[in-house]
Amino acid sequence: MIRDITLGQYYPEQSVIHRLDARTKILGTLLYIIELFLVNSFAGFGLVILALGVLIGISKVPVRFIFRGLKAVVFIILLTFLLNLFMFDGTVLWHWKFLTITYEGLYRSCFMALRLILLIIGTSMLTLTTKPMELTDGLEKLLKPFNRFGLPSHEIALMMSIALRFIPTLLEETDKIMKAQQARGADFESGNLIQRVKNMIPILIPLFVGSFRIAQDLALAMEARCYHGGVGRTRMKEIVFSRRDGVAGVLLAVFLGIVIASRWMPLP
C-alpha cells in the first residue's frame, strides 16, 4: 500500500500549464500572492476569480481535486472569518450580549475569508501542475543569482529533492519497524492519546537511527559517483524558457496592470 503513494499532490495531465517552465509558474504564483494583497474590492476579487477559473480550465485539473486542498484549512478560514466578524466597530447589524456584528465587520470578514480561499486555491495550482523535481530544479535556477551573497542554491535544491526521494523509503522503513514491534507485542491502537503517543517511541527511535544509516550509505554512494558540490556540474535536462513562457509572462504582466488599475476604480 505504501508503494502506491504519490509524492506531493501532482496531478498528471498534458496541458499547457503543466508544460510551462517551473520558474514561470513559481514567479507567477508569487505575483498572484502579491496581487491578492493589492486587491481592495470585491470586484477586484471577481477579476482574480475569473482569471483563476480560466487557468484551471486550461490546466484540465478537475475542480474537486482543487477543493480537496481546501479541506485541510477550513478551520483556519473559519477562525479568520469569526475573528474579523466580531472585531469591528461600526453600523450594528446584530447584537447579543457581548457579541456584536457590524456591517464593516461582515464586509471585512467575507473579504478576508475570500482572500484566504483564493490564496490556497491559487498556490495549490503550482503544486498540482508541477512535478516536485521540476519545482526543485526551477527553484535552484531562480536562487542562483543569490549565490554571490552566500546562498547555497544548489545544496538547498539537492536537499529538497533528496528529502522527496526518501519519503517513500522512510515510509517503508516505518512500516517494517511497526510490524516488527507489533510482532513483539506492541500495541498502537488502544489507550488514551498520551498512551498512544508514548507507544510511538519504539517506532521513532529505530526510524531515527535508521535514517542516519541511510544518510551514511547515500553519502558514500554519492561520493563514489564523483559528487563534489554544484561547481562544474552540468545537467542532463537543462531547463529553458520557451515561447509559451514568454506568452505566459506577458499575460501575467497584463493581469498585474489590471489588478493595480482596479484599486483606483470606484468599485464595491
Binding site: 508503494r3 509524492l7 516536485p132 523535481m133 529533492s161 533528496i162 522527496l164 526521494r165 517513500p168 523509503t169 517503508e172 544509516r213 541511510i214 550509505d217 547515500l218 558514500l220 554512494a221 554519492m222 561520493e223 563514489a224 559517483r225 564523483c226 559528487y227 563534489h228 562544474g232 556540474r233 552540468t234 545537467r235 542532463m236 535536462k237 537543462e238
Partner: protein, 282 residues
C-alpha cells in the same frame, strides 16, 4: 603493462572511541597485496567481518589506507588531484539498492554521475539511454524508483555506474538483499559487462557467485588466505573449511559421495557435472 588495480601492503584500522576507557583500534584489513590486470573478473569471498567490504571501499578512494598504498592505473588514491579521475575509472555498486539512488526519476538518477563529471548535456542523454538499455531498464526510465522491485533498483544503480564509463566496476555484495530472480538478473549483467571488457571485482559471500569468476580471492580476518582460480579452490575441501565458509550444496554432495567411497572426481563442482558424474556410476 600497468595493472588497473595494484594494492600493496594495505592495512586499514577502524578507530573505536568508547565513553569508558581509551580509544581502541580494530584492524579490518591487514597487509593485503594483490594486482588486478585489466579485463579480469575477480571474486572476493569471505564471511562477515573478513574485511572484504573495507577492502572494496579502498579501490576508489572512499577509504584511505592506514598503511600501504592503492594504485588505480598508476594513480595513488592518496593524491587528492587524482581522486575524481580514480572514481570515474572505478565505479561502485553497493549492497542496499534503496540507499544509493539519489533521484526520484530513474533516468535522472542514472544521469547523476555524468552530471557530476561535467559532461555535456547531449552526451549525458546518450550515455543514460545506453546505460539503461544495457541493464534492460530503458522502458522504466521515467518511473519513480520506489515503484520498482529490488532487482530493478539494483539494475538502475548499475546503470548509474555504467553511465560514468568506468574501466572497472566494484560490486560490493550487490545481490545480498535481492530475491533469487533479481540475483540472477544482476549476475547476468555482471557477466555481460565483463564480456564487454570491463574489469569486474565482485565482493560476495555467495559461493555460487564466486564460482563464476576467473579468479578468486578469499579473505579471512583481514588477510588474503587464497588467491587462485575458483575451480582449484572449490576442488579442495580443506581450503573451503579453513576459510570457515559454508560448503556449497553441490560440493557438499560431491564430498559425501567421495566419502562413501564412490568414484566421483574431486574436480566436479557444477550441477551439470555432478549429474553427469552420478549418471556414470553403476
Amino acid at each position: 603493462m600497468e595493472p588497473i588495480i595494484r594494492v600493496e601492503n594495505l592495512t586499514f584500522e577502524y578507530r573505536k572511541v568508547s565513553p569508558e576507557g581509551p580509544a581502541t583500534s580494530f584492524r579490518a584489513v591487514d597487509g593485503v597485496t594483490f594486482e588486478v590486470p585489466s579485463g579480469e573478473f575477480v571474486a572476493v569471498l569471505g564471511m562477515n567481518g573478513s574485511g572484504k567490504s573495507t577492502l572494496a571501499k579502498h579501490l576508489n578512494g572512499l577509504l584511505l589506507p592506514t598503511e600501504g598504498d592503492v594504485w588505480i592505473e598508476g594513480m595513488n588514491t592518496r593524491e587528492d588531484d587524482h581522486i575524481w579521475n580514480i572514481r570515474s575509472t572505478v565505479g561502485m555498486v553497493f549492497q542496499n539498492p534503496d540507499n544509493q539512488i539519489v533521484s526520484s526519476v530513474v533516468e535522472d538518477d542514472v544521469a547523476f554521475g555524468p552530471e557530476n563529471l561535467g559532461v555535456d548535456p547531449m552526451e549525458i542523454r546518450r550515455r543514460v539511454d545506453e546505460a539503461l538499455q544495457a541493464v534492460g531498464m530503458y522502458e522504466q526510465r521515467l518511473k519513480a524508483p520506489h515503484m520498482l522491485s529490488g532487482g530493478q533498483k539494483q539494475r538502475i544503480a548499475i546503470a548509474g555506474a555504467i553511465a560514468m564509463r568506468p574501466k572497472c566496476i566494484v560490486f560490493d555484495e550487490p545481490t545480498a538483499m535481492l530475491d533469487p530472480k533479481g540475483r540472477h538478473q544482476v549476475m547476468d549483467i555482471i557477466h555481460r559487462l565483463h564480456e564487454a571488457g570491463i574489469t569486474v571485482i565482485l565482493i560476495t559471500h555467495f559461493m555460487e557467485e564466486a564460482m563464476q569468476a576467473d579468479r578468486l580471492i578469499v579473505m579471512k580476518d583481514g588477510r588474503i588466505t587464497d588467491d587462485m582460480p575458483p575451480r582449484d579452490f572449490f576442488a579442495d575441501r580443506e581450503r573451503i573449511q579453513r576459510a570457515r565458509l559454508e560448503m556449497p550444496a553441490i560440493i557438499a554432495l560431491r564430498e559425501e559421495l567421495i566419502r562413501q567411497g564412490l568414484p566421483v572426481d574431486a574436480s566436479v563442482q557444477t550441477e551439470e557435472e555432478l549429474i553427469e558424474a552420478i549418471c556414470q556410476l553403476q
